[in-house]
């Protein structure tokens, strides 16, 4: 099973709340315990970032994502493809993985606002 975690940088590995506009994915394989960093295609999209990001998650073969907010377009795609969506507050990637394995993470039950990852939403 593979999980895709949205992160801001490979160095500090903090989970990024913005699904489509995070810079990287941490792709974690639960069985092999291997972690791979991949550039998020949504980050570089002018339009349709959520679509590009969700599409990439499908192509990477992920079964679940861990992030903060998912916009309406991405949410629709992930739900249609039966990919589970989990919410993580600000935390490190390792902690997110640990909590996922323990089954403590809450599921994202609906789409958040669109364009959440743009502008100064900090």
């Amino acid at each position: 099973m593979k999980i895709c975690i949205s992160i801001a940088s490979k160095d500090d590995r903090t989970v990024d709340a913005r699904f489509a506009r995070s810079m990287f994915w941490g792709l974690y394989d639960v069985e092999s315990e291997m972690l791979e960093f991949i550039e998020n295609e949504g980050f570089v999209s002018n339009h349709g970032a959520g679509i590009a990001a969700a599409h990439q998650v499908i192509k990477l073969g992920a079964d679940a994502v861990i992030t903060g907010n998912i916009g309406p377009n991405a949410y629709e795609i992930l739900e249609d493809s039966d990919i589970k969506m989990y919410k993580m507050g600000s935390a490190q990637l390792d902690e997110a993985v640990k909590e996922f394995k323990e089954g403590c993470l809450g599921e994202i039950s609906g789409a958040g606002p669109k364009h959440f990852g743009m502008g100064s939403s900090k």
């Binding site: 339009h47 349709g48 679509i51 969700a54 377009n73 629709e76 795609i77 249609d80 493809s81 039966d82």
Partner: protein, 297 residues
Amino acid sequence: MRYLVPAQSTLEWEVVSKMIEKKRIAVLSGKGGSGKTTIATNLARVTGMPYVDLDVEEPNGFLFVKPDIEDTMDVTAFYPIIDKDKCTMCGKCADMCNFNAMVLGKKKVLVYDKLCHGCGVCTLVCESDAILEGQRSIGSAMRGIDERGIDAFQGVLNVGEAMAGPIISHIKNKMIGDSYVVDCAPGCSCNVVKALIDIDFAVLVGEDTQFGLHDLILAMDLCGKMGIPYGVVINKAADLSSSLVYQYCEKESIEVLGVLPFSREVAKSYSKGNLIVKDLAYREVFEDIAFKIVGEQ
């Protein structure tokens, strides 16, 4: 020889008999709110040329021109319709789409119409003939006539749509002749570029502020890149000795077509939906602008 019939008085609204021949004029500014519609509607009025509102996301010129609408045409845009019986879920269409408008989900291809730019690449790469060419309504194009019987046009993009291009192209290619005043959208991106295609002369409205000047320079850059000659109208102007836009134009040897000083009276007249060439003594200013444009060839 072209000339304009001088106004007898500001209360008599004569039709200006000689239109500037074969002159496609566009009014743009860079910065929003700088006075494009004011300049465009009043310039059209004074010259008797048709007014064309190509700020299709927020057209407002008709508030001043007040035409009786005679024709309204639905404008449609292409979008792909997937035939699920023929679709093999190969995903080629989604991979080739440059605009993220298609995604291969687990069960079907998902299409995001509003991102579709109508390039048609998906239909070319599909090997199962599973993509049909749909057309969906994105807005409308209208033609009306004003109280003098002169045409006016506007495009209206439906709320929520992202793609204004097809409406702008429809109006330019199918509805207007080759003599008009186009009121562009604010900014310098796609909507403005599309409106500027085949324009003979651009009137750049420079709001006399730092932001106004900054964006005016971007607009000049755009016209330069598109090879369109231009002149500047300084709007809401300070005294020329302290006018940022005037001093910039002097320094760069850019032609100033006219100056409209900052005026509360103009703002009041405008807020009532009046054309300032009818309501106030601004006819001459606009006639001078028109003369200067005609001289530019």
